[in-house]
C-alpha cells in the first residue's frame, strides 16, 4: 500500500465523521435529551422549565388513561400478530406449494398496500367504515344484517377493533414475502421423504414447513411487534385521533396529544420513555420465549 497512516486516517474521518455528527445531532442527542426532559415540568418556553424530579413518573402511574393506552397498544400487537401471521402463512404456503399459475399476480397485489402512505390507507378505511355510505354497513345491509351495522369508528367499543383490519390489510404483503423466501429455501427432498413416509399435505405443513421456516416466523413476529409498538399511533392519529372519548388512544398518540396539543412537553417525554422501556422489555421477553434451536434434519 502506498498511502501513509495519516492519509488513511484522513480518509476514514472523511467517510465517518460528517455522517456521525448528523446522526448524533438528529438521532442520539434527541433520544438522550428526551430522557432528560422527562424530569422537567415544561410548557415549551425556556422560562417555564422547572426540574421536578420524578413527579412526571408519579403522574404517569396515577394517570387513568395510561393503562388504557398500554392495553390498546398490546391489543393491536396481539391481533395484528395473529391476523397477519395466519393469513401471511396461508398465502405464502398456497403461493409456493400449490403450483397456482397466477401466483405472481397475487404476490404483486398483496404486497402493494405495504408501500401505500398511512394517510391514504387511513382515509380509505375511514370511508369503508363510514356509517351511511361505507362499504361495511352497505355490505351488511345487502346481506340483510342491518342490525349489525353501526358507526364503527364512532363507537367506543368498536373503534379500536376496527383499526385492526386496515393494519392487517396494509401489513400482510411484507410477511407473505418473508415467509415465501423461507419456504423457497426448504429443500424439496424433505417433502419427497415425507411423502414416501405417507405424510399428507397437512402433516407436511406441520412437520416440515413450519419447523424449517421457524426463523422467518420468529423474525416476522418480532418485526410486527416492534413496528406496532413504535408506529401504531400513526394510523390511530389519521383514523380516530384517539377518540371517541380516548377509546383508541395508544401510547404514541397520547404522547402526541400531551406534548404537541397540550404542550406538556416534560410529561410527553415521560410517556416516550415509557414507550421505549416497554418496547425493549417486550422484545427481550419475546426473544426469550421464541428461542428454539434451529431445526435441521
Amino acid at each position: 500500500m502506498v498511502q501513509s497512516k495519516k492519509q488513511k486516517y484522513m480518509f476514514l474521518a472523511f467517510c465517518l465523521v460528517p455522517t456521525f455528527i448528523m446522526f448524533a445531532i438528529f438521532t442520539l442527542y434527541p433520544l438522550f435529551s428526551g430522557l432528560y426532559y422527562s424530569f422537567f415540568d415544561w410548557s415549551g418556553s425556556a422560562q417555564n422549565k422547572e426540574f421536578i424530579g420524578l413527579d412526571n413518573y408519579i403522574k404517569l402511574i396515577n394517570d387513568a388513561i395510561i393503562p388504557d393506552t398500554i392495553i390498546h397498544d398490546y391489543f393491536l400487537v396481539a391481533t395484528k400478530v395473529i391476523g397477519i401471521m395466519i393469513m401471511a402463512l396461508f398465502i405464502a404456503v398456497a403461493l409456493t406449494q400449490l403450483k397456482i399459475k397466477e401466483a405472481p399476480f397475487y404476490r404483486i397485489v398483496f404486497f402493494f398496500p405495504n408501500i401505500m402512505s398511512v394517510v391514504v390507507i387511513g382515509i380509505l378505511w375511514t370511508f369503508i367504515y363510514n356509517p351511511s355510505m361505507g362499504l361495511v354497513n352497505s355490505g351488511l345491509e345487502f346481506l340483510g344484517l342491518e342490525s349489525l351495522a353501526r358507526p364503527w369508528l364512532g363507537s367506543e367499543t368498536w373503534a379500536l377493533p376496527s383499526l385492526v383490519l386496515p393494519s392487517i390489510w396494509a401489513g400482510i404483503g411484507l410477511f407473505m414475502l418473508m415467509l415465501m423466501g423461507g419456504i423457497a429455501n426448504v429443500s424439496k427432498s424433505y417433502y419427497e421423504a415425507a411423502e414416501i413416509d405417507g405424510a399428507n399435505e397437512w402433516q407436511q405443513f406441520w412437520k416440515v414447513t413450519l419447523p424449517l421456516i421457524w426463523p422467518q416466523i420468529k423474525i416476522s413476529i418480532l418485526y410486527i411487534v416492534i413496528t406496532t409498538l413504535n408506529g401504531s399511533f400513526i394510523i390511530v392519529q389519521v383514523m380516530t385521533g384517539g377518540g371517541p372519548n380516548n377509546s383508541t388512544h395508544v401510547m404514541g398518540s397520547y404522547l402526541y396529544q400531551q406534548a404537541f396539543v397540550q404542550f406538556n412537553f416534560g410529561y410527553g417525554a415521560t410517556i416516550g420513555v415509557m414507550i421505549l422501556v416497554l418496547s425493549l422489555i417486550t422484545v427481550l421477553i419475546l426473544q426469550f420465549l421464541m428461542r428454539r434451536d434451529k431445526v435441521e434434519y
Binding site: M1, V2, Q3, K8, F11, L12, F14, C15, L16, T19, F20, M22, F23, F26, T27, Y29, P30, L31, Y37, M87, F90, I91, A94, L95, L98, I100, Y106, R107, V109, F110, F111, F112, N114, M116, S117, V119, I123, T126, M133, L135, S138, L174, L177, M178, G181, E195, I219, S220, I226, N230, F233, Q237, G252, L255, F260, F265, G268, G272, I275, S279
Partner: protein
C-alpha cells in the same frame, strides 16, 4: 402419485380466499380512483359504483383551490433532497465500515443498526426544539434533513451488505495504480454499488413521499405542508364541506407516483424491503 378428488377440489378451494383477498385489496383502491371522477352529489347517491361521467373537475379543484399544487411541490423537494442527502451521508460510511479495518467498526455498525429498532417518538420532542433553535422548524429543508438521518441506519445497513459482494481485487489494483481512496470510492465503489443504491433510494423516496407524522409535528403553516398533511387537512375539512370528490382526487395524486414506481421497480422494492426486515 394419483391425485384424489378431494385434492383437486382443494386446489380450487384454495383460490377462493386468494381471490377474495385480491378483491379486498384492489377494490378500495379502484374505488378511490372512481370516486375522484364523481361529483359530491353522486358520491352520496352512489358511493361504490362507476361514475356516470368521467370529469376532472375534482382534480382541478384540489390543484388550485386546496393548494395541492404547493404541497406536491413541497413533497417533491423533501423527497428528492432527503433521498440525495441520505446517499451522501450513507455511502462513505457504508464503505468505511465494510472495507476499511479500524477499531470500533463493529461497534459503529451495531450502533447504526440498533437505531432501527428504537422508537424515535421519544426523540421527536427534543428534535422539535432543536429544529426551532436551528431555524429549521416549519421548514421543508429541515424536514428533509430529519428524514435523511432517520433513514440512515437502514440505508447504511443495505449498502454495507451490498458492498460486501464487490470483489476486493478491483480496489487493490486501483490503489496499486496510485488512485486515491477518494477516487476509488467515487469512481469504482459507487458505480459498482449502483444497483443497491437505486434499490435503497427508491425505498427511501417512497418512505419520504408517504411520511405523515414527522411532517405533522415539524411543519406548521399551510404553505409548507407536504402532500400527506394537505390530504389530512382536506380530510378533516371534508367533515364540514363534504368535498369528498376533492379528497379522492388528492388521494389519487398522492398514490399515482407510488404506483408508477411499484410498476417499474416491483421486484427491487419487494426484495429490498424483505431483506431489510430479515437481516435487521
Amino acid at each position: 402419485m394419483k391425485k384424489s378428488v378431494g385434492q383437486i377440489l382443494g386446489r380450487t378451494g384454495i383460490r377462493i380466499p386468494l381471490i377474495l383477498w385480491s378483491i379486498a385489496v384492489l377494490y378500495p383502491i379502484f374505488w378511490m380512483f372512481l370516486g375522484s371522477f364523481k361529483s359530491n352529489a353522486e358520491i352520496y347517491r352512489n358511493p361504490w359504483g362507476l361514475p356516470e361521467t368521467f370529469n376532472w373537475q375534482n382534480f382541478a379543484d384540489a390543484w388550485t383551490n386546496y393548494n395541492i399544487d404547493t404541497s406536491v411541490f413541497n413533497s417533491l423537494i423533501v423527497t428528492v433532497v432527503g433521498a440525495a442527502l441520505t446517499l451522501v451521508l450513507a455511502i462513505p460510511t457504508a464503505y468505511a465500515i465494510e472495507r476499511i479495518n479500524f477499531k470500533g467498526s463493529k461497534f459503529l455498525f451495531t450502533l447504526y443498526v440498533s437505531a432501527m429498532m428504537i422508537p424515535m417518538v421519544l426523540g421527536w420532542i427534543p428534535l422539535f426544539f432543536l429544529l426551532m433553535d436551528f431555524g429549521l422548524l416549519d421548514n421543508i429543508f429541515g424536514l428533509a434533513i430529519v428524514y435523511a438521518v432517520s433513514q440512515l441506519p437502514f440505508t447504511i445497513f443495505v449498502l454495507t451488505s451490498f458492498m460486501s459482494t464487490i470483489p476486493k481485487s478491483l480496489e487493490e489494483s486501483a490503489s496499486m495504480d496510485g488512485m486515491s481512496p477518494y477516487r476509488i470510492l467515487w469512481k469504482i465503489i459507487t458505480p459498482l454499488s449502483m444497483s443497491g443504491i437505486i434499490t435503497v433510494t427508491i425505498m427511501n423516496a417512497i418512505q419520504f413521499w408517504n411520511e405523515y407524522f414527522m411532517a405533522l409535528i415539524f411543519l406548521q403553516t399551510e404553505g409548507n405542508y407536504t402532500l400527506a398533511l394537505a390530504i389530512d387537512y382536506i380530510s378533516s375539512e371534508a367533515q364540514y364541506t363534504n368535498a369528498w370528490g376533492t379528497l379522492f382526487a388528492s388521494l389519487v395524486i398522492a398514490i399515482v407516483p407510488v404506483i408508477i414506481l411499484y410498476a417499474i421497480f416491483q421486484q427491487r422494492i419487494a426484495k429490498g424491503m424483505t431483506e431489510g426486515a430479515i437481516k435487521g
